[in-house]
Amino acid sequence: MASIRILLDKCTGCTLCVKACPFGAIHMADRKAVIDMAKCTLCGACVAACKFSAIELEKSAGPKRDLSAYKDVWVFCEQKKGVIQSISFELLGEGRRLADKLGVKLCAVLLGHDMETAAGRLGERGADKVYLVDHPALAAYQDDPYTAVLVKLVEEYKPEALLCGATTIGRSLISRVAIRTNAGLTADCTGLDVDTKERLLLQTRPAFGGNIMATIIAPNHRPQMATVRHKVMQEAPVRPGRGVEVVSNVYPEETFASRTRLIEVVEELASTVNISEADIIVAGGRGMGGKENFAQLEELAKVLGGAVGASRSAVDADWIGYSHQVGQTGKTVVPKLYIACGISGQIQHLIGMQSAKTIVAINKDPDAPIFKVATYGIVGDVNELVPALTREFKRALNK
């Protein structure tokens, strides 16, 4: 069984670990760190924080496995109705960088039906090889056949890393594949890198529900799997004419069996622009004062060709639908311009939008935390300023 202990001769009483512990399980006694085992979850945050190697987290060493057979970086390319989704190009962009660093191939995995042409063009997005499984049962996503096929591919070709979009499909699929292949999986990575010596995928993500970032590895398991949210990575550039080797795989029919049956795919036409795709977002919070005032935001968004976003409290008050919610429990957005109107800037909201290039905040409370992240801040009444902005933008854009 795993255990953790403080090496008293090495502990300098610097308290770094106390601050690092996300669970408040460490305190100082006689200038040495003491771990409260009732609170400790063996998360390893203190080990990572200690500059003096004074904390030892011992894991019962399982059988050391030979991982040398595993090579190449894979990207699961998500397709819907035969169209490869842009998240896949973002992952190919990142995967290319990692594969080059490791000196291995970047391979795309494509599951679908009638996807040969699309597969052939993945070279233009940086893939060296495409593992294609083409079957009518794979036309639309279903958990069972997709899991079975991807597990077979992984077992047959042994990639050392596998990246997947943190989408509805990606999260459902990769979680199952990780269990079946006994692999480590890290969700929603915001940064990826590799340790070329140990051939480790360094997966960084926000952790412990706060403003702490953690870098996570899977030292003794392959493939190393990670999901990445849409819009977090840069799309791979298009290199016209770049070729790719397509490896088509055929599996026995039972591989494609599905216990679930997809009856219908319903697309609900969003009346407004999808906020995760929008370059400009005009978002409103509790400070908008009421449902009716959201019309002003829509007006401004329309003039700017953007989408309307909202904080959780505005959504909870039923001023606007959940699909507009930005933040930890909503969507992560990375627009060029984010105009936050009457949003105080709770951390849960900031997590979802602080990577926007330019942030404008309008709030009547000068102490609102939103101003701490805003490129431009205005203290004032949103219900006056938003219509004024709409007028000025209309004039400036000749609309």
Partner: protein, 384 residues
């Protein structure tokens, strides 16, 4: 302050607080603006079993008393005094049945009230009978196994929304107050109508209407207690319910103080949060102290009622008087601390101030409470 509540009282208070924070606070301003009755909130209170806390288990209640009812009323009022009144008004309408109803009446009406399926309302006030409740004019004439009610009740809380009404009417005009009787009238009874909804200064989420009886036939079985007991039923009901008004007032005051305290800690003027200024600190201190005193009095009287004390008129009048005056003063001061922001409808304190005012007026104006208190004091002195 620790009021040594029992584990189940703490559970009740915390549940009411959770509902207030999560389900009432976010919609309080909206209902205040629209003046609609907050049925969705009533449904939540019903599903959470809160309507039955002060009713005996035999009738589907939780077996608690007036203190439990006060705890809930206070917590709900902390978010919205108007929505809380839908709850407290049902309590007022139910008390005549609970205190004086027959076993049959209790069996018939209390379970639906306990489950929150039906709300209740208490009807005594008339256009010319406010503080002078003795001059009501609504009559109930006995005909066979029925009573025929005629007259108009005014400013009835929950009227139109409630299903069960307890009504005070004269069965013998000649006897004056001794000729009054109490009846249970169900909504939908022929000859019972509602006037238009009143537009009020505060507690706007609460429904207030006239209840008009025109040859309204009520079964004789719906007479509460005996003929001529109407005023005793009414007075006992009000004595029992006044700690609830006090609790509502404490809740409103606490809600206003919560806002003002929060604001004072974040509002920076002259380079410092205004809570660092002694002028503001002293106001906050007075507000906090007054609220605690009002709460202590309200809880004490509620406990006295629950202990079965025979006469609680003086004490329950004191609780209602003191707590409502505190609510008004604290709410006004909360607005003052928040200055211009406090005056704006963007913040809830101006609403607390409007809501607070009614607590000094209804269920006996504070002037009448003082009369009651003084009369009891003098009576007690005479006995010595």
């Amino acid at each position: 302050m620790d009021y040594l509540l029992t584990e189940s009282q703490i559970m009740i208070r915390d549940l009411a607080r959770k509902i207030a924070v999560e389900k009432i606070k976010p919609v309080a301003a909206q209902y205040d603006e629209s003046e609609e009755f907050a049925w969705p909130v009533m449904k939540i209170l019903a599903e959470s079993d809160l309507f039955g806390i002060y009713l005996p288990e035999a009738y589907g209640g939780m077996g608690g008393g007036i203190l439990e009812m006060c705890l809930v009323t206070e917590e709900l009022s902390r978010a919205c005094g108007g929505i809380a009144l839908g709850y407290a008004g049902t309590g007022l309408g139910t008390l005549p049945i609970l205190l004086h109803g027959s076993e049959e009446q209790k069996k018939k009406y209390l379970p639906d009230i306990a489950s929150g399926k039906k709300l209740a309302a208490f009807c005594i006030t008339e256009a010319e009978a406010g503080s002078d409740a003795g001059s009501i004019k609504t009559t109930a004439r006995k005909e066979g196994d029925k009573y025929i009610l005629n007259g108009t009740k005014q400013w009835i809380t929950n009227a139109g929304e409630a299903e069960i009404y307890t009504v005070i009417a004269l069965t013998d005009k000649a006897k004056g107050v001794r000729g009054a009787s109490a009846f249970i009238v169900e909504k939908g009874t022929k000859g019972m109508e509602f006037g238009k909804k009143e537009k009020k200064m505060g507690i706007r989420a609460s429904a207030t209407r006239e209840v008009i009886f025109t040859d309204c036939e009520v079964p004789a079985a719906n007479l509460i207690s005996r003929e001529g007991m109407g005023f005793i039923v009414a007075m006992k009901t009000l004595d029992t319910s006044r700690p609830g008004v006090a609790a509502q007032a404490v809740g409103i005051a606490q809600g206003a103080l919560d806002c003002a305290l929060d604001y004072s800690r974040t509002r920076v003027q002259f380079g410092a949060p205004i809570s660092s200024f002694q002028a503001v600190q002293h106001m906050l201190a007075d507000m906090g102290t007054q609220i605690e005193a009002a709460r202590a009095l309200a809880y004490s009287v509620a406990r006295m009622v629950d202990s079965g004390a025979k006469s609680v008129s003086k004490e329950s009048a004191m609780a209602k008087l003191f707590a409502s005056d505190v609510a008004m003063k604290v709410a006004v001061d909360a607005v003052q601390i928040m200055g211009g922001y406090g005056y704006m409808r963007d913040y809830p304190v101006e609403k607390f101030m409007r809501d607070a005012k009614i607590t000094q007026i209804y269920e006996g104006t504070n002037q009448i409470q003082r009369n009651v208190i003084a009369a009891n004091m003098i009576k007690e002195a005479l006995k010595k």
